[in-house]
């Protein structure tokens, strides 16, 4: 076998990537553009509308945030990737030790299961359309019907079995689907914009604000419903809320209440839970595990130059800008047309793209869940020596499917993605600090490897202390998770330097 053939077959899991296996920038542009137009995009865009984000903040916030994400890939991740040419896991093992990497992998695997669960929910909302299954609403934490549970279980089972037995096949299928899915997202945006029916920016902004105000009035306590019909049904059961409803919607009687739409809504202006900086931070850090978290060392180790890091722009501005805006417009169009504020991807996509939209939602959810469940299976396999990859992948798929039965994971995707970054991204700070500051600060680089340790205590403390504090702030104090990622990352970098200097001084 020639060196080139060997390079093409090898994955270099525990060796630096040789020059013969390096790739030009074009490969990375295509990969990032395709892989960031995924199932999650159908959820995230609409959730911005429901959070009350102003339209100008969406356009400007996503521009700044996605640019910062690209800069993070280009200047934080890619330079170390092209110099070290190692996977994240191998580089982390040298610094932190095999035991800690397994624990990191386990945390990654568990979080992956819940992310995959949300994607199974996404796909199920499309699969259920031909069977006229009652879809869960945004207030639904538990499954709302036996039929929905059955659909989720079936979809999850198929995805799990295929991930266990046919991962490569689905990965190839994802390669085929990606260019088409990108255009379907754009098409959804075009049709949604037509359905919104604005003639200019002022008109679009006005309609957007109306849908936001209307959504928040319906979704606020004590109503917490997703349509006027839902409100009327609630008021039949709780007639004492009628005066509250009439006041909130600024109408004189129930007859007028039944006629309320997002266009004629006269109630109070919405209170946004996400301002411009929230949008910036969310879009910057939603993939934090990959850029400042250094997971994409595994990708860019194949790049000839660090400038290939700019390829992330293909993913960010195609997937995280265009697709999110298109998905947000889909919900705005739905609210205007039907009065329903439920961000259920299947029906939304069906109303703007027909059968192509339904298939796109199924495929997008599936092609996101497939590698996610596969990697969770690998993580579990690493924790249980001697276990089979098939069994562990099926276990991961089972956990994901059960999570998918509870739509709350999909509806709370914004917070979950932020929490995911808060937990995992700080390990990238360990790699960053170890790479740039070991010699300058006088501590041993790759300490676990050099000292033969299976767990680097300095890394464990530097990682877990900030994450524990951030978890408390998020879960107990209610701080939005995307505010915690950067402080955690910086704190971990500083603590890694301090603890490593104390525990593992540089060898003389």
């Amino acid at each position: 076998m020639s060196e080139q053939e060997h390079a093409a077959n090898e994955e270099f899991e525990r060796t630096p990537v040789p020059k013969s296996a390096l790739k030009g920038p074009g490969k990375f542009w295509g990969m990032y553009a395709g892989e960031h137009a995924a199932g999650t995009e159908f959820m995230i865009g609409p959730l911005f509308l429901l959070a009350g984000v102003a339209l100008k903040d969406i356009f400007l916030g996503l521009l700044i945030g996605n640019l910062l994400a690209v800069l993070s890939w280009r200047y934080i991740c890619a330079p170390i990737a092209v110099r070290g040419r190692m996977t994240l896991y191998y580089q982390l093992e040298k610094i932190a030790g095999g035991k800690l990497v397994k624990f990191y992998n386990l945390a990654n695997g568990i979080l992956f299961c819940f992310l995959a669960g949300a994607m199974i929910t996404v796909s199920a909302t499309a699969v259920g359309i031909p069977f006229k299954i009652e879809m869960p609403t945004i207030e639904t934490v538990y499954p709302n019907s036996a039929a929905f549970v059955v659909i989720v279980l079936l979809v999850g089972a198929v995805i799990a079995v295929v991930a266990a037995k046919g991962y490569e096949t689905v990965a190839r299928f994802a390669n085929v689907a990606s260019p088409w899915m990108v255009l379907v997202f754009l098409a959804c945006g075009f049709v949604a914009l037509k359905q919104i029916g604005a003639a200019n920016w002022e008109g679009l902004n006005g309609i957007w604000n109306n849908t936001v105000n209307y959504s928040q009035a319906l979704g606020a306590k004590p109503f917490e419903v997703t349509s006027i019909q839902g409100l009327l049904d609630l008021l039949k059961q709780k007639p004492d809320l009628i005066p509250v409803a009439l006041e909130a919607f600024k109408v004189p009687d129930m007859e007028a209440l039944a006629q309320v739409t997002s266009d004629n809504f006269q109630g109070a202006e919405a209170t946004s839970t996400m301002n411009l900086w929230s949008v910036v931070l969310f879009s910057w850090f939603c993939n934090s595990a990959m850029h400042i978290g250094m997971a994409d060392l595994s990708v860019f180790r194949y790049a000839r130059k660090a400038s290939s890091g700019w390829a992330a722009a293909g993913g960010m501005f195609v997937g995280h800008y265009m697709a999110w805006v298109a998905a947000a417009f889909m919900l705005a169009a739905q609210i205007r047309a039907t009065g329903s504020t439920d961000p259920v991807p299947g029906p939304m996509a069906a109303s703007v793209a027909g059968m192509a939209g339904i298939v796109c939602v199924v495929v997008a959810g599936w092609t996101t869940a497939n590698p996610t469940i596969y990697r969770a299976g690998l993580a579990f396999q690493a924790m249980i020596p001697g276990s089979s990859r098939t069994a562990m992948t099926l276990l991961a798929g089972s956990v994901a499917t059960i999570a998918g039965v509870f739509p709350a994971f999909a509806w709370k995707l914004l917070g979950f993605v932020g929490f995911y970054g808060t937990v995992l991204a700080p390990m990238g700070a360990v790699i960053f600090a170890d790479w740039y500051f070991a010699k300058k600060a006088g501590f041993r680089q790759f300490a676990a490897e050099g000292l033969g340790k299976s767990m680097n205590l300095a890394v464990a403390l530097a990682w877990l202390i900030p994450v524990a504090i951030a978890s408390y702030l998020i879960k107990v104090e209610g701080i939005p998770s995307w505010y915690c990622i950067l402080p955690c990352w910086i704190a971990t970098a500083i603590l890694h330097v301090i603890f490593s200097k104390s525990f593992y001084k540089q060898a003389i």
Binding site: A8, E11, F12, K23, K27, F28, M31, E35, H36, A38, G39, T40, T87, L88, Y89, L115, A171, R172, F173, A174, N175, V176, P179, W180, L183, V184, L186, A187, C188, F190, V191, L193, K194, C286, N287, A289, M290, A295, D296, S298, V299, Y302, A353, G354, M355, A356, G357, V359, T367, T368, P371, T372, R375, V417
Partner: protein, 67 residues
Amino acid sequence: MKILFPIIALVGLGLTIIPPAIHLFGNLEIGTTFNLMTAGMVLWVIGATPWLAFKEDELDKSTQDNI
């Protein structure tokens, strides 16, 4: 025959995006738009599967996440 697959696939992509664009900027009916997009989807699968699905996967994507 091999040259046909990319052509079919690209026609499929065209049918995926051009009708919605015409619907937005012109007056193409929504039902027609949906039908053309469905046809585009089918053509893309027919053309792109033999064209792209069996290309050697040169890039290690074992740890690439899709978010």
